[in-house]
């Protein structure tokens, strides 16, 4: 369909003057895209956190939880959006629920591995020094798990930014709306803007998380420098 579109039209791939006239719309779509990604990611981290804690407390739940999150991920995005809209309308809740659901399959195993990877000796020493369970969690386990957790968040954020565009087919906001609009109107400029915007956003998010991880774990560089 899209190849036909590009083949049949005499439209140029980009009309540069359209960009200048639609800065506000592009900005609005960017904000929507970021909002949907960030909110879904945040919710995904909370829910995946609960799932990961469950797995770490009861190892037999690993199989069932992995099966369910994988199964949910296997639902085609178009189908999931289409199924939720009759229930929840075209508000933000549909893309957020769908995207949060998809994020779990990436985030949960990363969280489990990250916390499993905290050195047992650090945990034992924390207990022996008299940290309470809560103090041990926030002061020792979270900081030590963070670099690996951020690795998972990077992959999840890039995945979600791609998936947000699917919601555009249902007018749910973000760059997807531009792409959908461009296809309906046989107007390549808007499609290109949507696609390039989405890719750039993914790169920005990825770099931002790399920076955050770097800033939050100065000790890893110190250890590397000495070896």
């Amino acid at each position: 369909m899209i190849t036909q579109l590009f083949a049949q039209t005499t439209e140029p791939i980009i009309r540069w003057n359209w960009l200048g006239d639609h800065l506000e719309e592009m900005w609005q779509r960017t904000v929507q895209h970021v909002e949907l990604t960030v909110v879904s990611l945040a919710l995904g981290i909370v829910i995946a956190g609960v799932l990961a804690a469950t797995i770490r407390a009861f190892r037999w739940t690993t199989g069932p939880i992995t099966a369910v999150t994988t199964l949910l991920y296997a639902i085609p995005a178009v189908a999931l959006f289409a199924a939720l809209i009759p229930w929840l309308g075209t508000g933000l809740s549909v893309p957020i629920i769908a995207l949060t659901t998809y994020s779990l399959v990436v985030l949960t195993p990363f969280l489990v591995d990250a916390f499993d990877g905290v050195p047992a000796a650090a945990r034992d020493a924390a207990d022996g020094m008299g940290l309470t369970t809560r103090q041990r969690f926030w002061r020792v386990e979270v900081p030590l798990a963070l670099p690996a957790v951020i690795g998972g968040i990077r992959i999840a954020s890039v995945t979600l930014i791609g998936l947000v565009t699917v919601g555009g087919l249902f007018d749910l906001g973000g760059y997807g709306n531009l792409i959908d609009d461009g296809i309906n109107r046989s107007f390549p400029t808007v499609i290109v803007v949507g696609v390039v915007g989405s890719v750039l956003l993914a790169i920005v998010f990825d770099l931002a998380f790399v920076g955050v991880g770097h800033a939050l774990s100065p000790w890893r560089r110190a250890a590397k420098a000495s070896t």
């Binding site: 650090a122 022996g128 008299g130 000495s226």
Partner: protein, 323 residues
């Protein structure tokens, strides 16, 4: 003797699912200010015993008192803040600087910043660490430095009791010997009660005021000062664990100055090799064998005070057997 710092009364530990106990009806007093070494083969329950003292493991039955207080009556985290704890893998927090690591317990106890800084300074001096290391992360330190930081961290709130779980088994022999000497020195200066777990009998003999030897199955095989343990092993198991050169180990615990020496003027012995009175009888034996001389001249500040012969060394070991 003052009240024991640590009392164990009929303490047993059976892990869930295990058929035999890890620790079996253990009754033991650790006198205040002493360095007691728990030693034995792996699986003998020595580490479990140590970890029951700060409630990292809970006994299945029996009672443990520290400074007269039943450990069960305190919340575990409060009890642990009053007990130093050093482990083999050191367990420094890799994401915190050396300074923050050392300050762990004082921070938990909510000391003010000035007091913490002053204490960290004191500790760095005490364990002989370079001050410039305070801002580093543990990953940038050598094994020996990490172990010193571990000890400083354990001593930060000046606990009356220090627990050490095979702290030197992961460092090389030269560093280990130095850390052992430093611990002896530290113990002499601070008078902290120390319970030290090791599987290395040489380390136990070197460090311990008393040695508790465990046999497989969590039984206490013998509990005595090193010299008594070597002189009178209570069972074939103890004898076997002490190894074949038991007599040499005993000589290593005797200072030549403490032996009944031959007077210097008893006949002419010719030019004898010399040894300082603070050296061990084992050192004197070494000299006797290597020089072939009939006696070694014992010096006090460079002045000969007597002669030691093979007969005297031999008698010292035999007489202890008979007591």
């Amino acid at each position: 003797m003052t009240d024991p710092a640590i009392e164990l009364r009929h303490v047993s530990k059976v892990y869930p699912g295990a058929t035999t106990p890890a620790v079996d009806d253990l009754t033991l007093d650790v006198p205040a200010g002493e360095l007691v070494v728990l030693v034995g083969p792996s699986g003998c329950g020595k580490t479990t015993t140590l970890r029951m003292l700060n409630r990292l493991e809970e006994p299945t039955s029996g009672e443990i008192r520290i400074a007269g207080v039943d450990v069960k009556t305190l919340p575990a985290h409060e009890l642990r803040r009053g007990i130093g704890y050093v482990i083999q893998q050191v367990g420094l927090f890799p994401h915190q600087t050396v300074e923050a690591n050392i300050a762990t317990v004082p921070r938990l106890l909510k000391w003010d910043k000035e007091r913490i800084r002053a204490r960290v300074d004191e500790l760095v001096h005490l364990v002989d660490l370079d001050r410039s290391l305070l801002e580093r992360f543990p990953g940038a330190l050598s094994g020996g430095q990490q172990q010193r930081v571990g000890v400083a961290r354990a001593l930060a709130a000046d606990p009356p009791v220090l627990l050490m779980d095979e702290p030197y088994s992961a460092v090389d022999p030269i560093v280990r010997a130095r850390l052992q000497d430093e611990l002896i020195d530290l113990h002499t200066r601070l008078g902290t009660t120390i319970v030290f777990v090791t599987h290395d009998i040489d380390e136990a003999i070197k460090l311990g005021d008393r040695i508790a030897m465990f046999a497989i199955g969590g039984h206490l095989a013998q509990y005595d000062p090193p010299a008594d343990l070597l002189a009178k092993p209570a069972s074939p198991f103890v004898t076997e664990f002490l190894g074949g050169d038991r007599t040499l180990r005993r000589l290593a615990l005797i200072r030549v100055g403490d032996l009944p020496l031959h007077p210097v003027d008893s006949g002419s012995v010719g030019p004898a090799p010399t040894i300082d009175r603070a050296q061990t009888a084992r050192g004197a034996l070494d000299l006797l064998v290597s020089s072939g001389a009939p006696a070694v001249s014992v010096l006090d500040n460079g002045r000969p005070i007597g002669l030691v012969s093979l007969a005297i060394l031999s008698a010292s070991v035999r007489s202890e057997d008979n007591t």
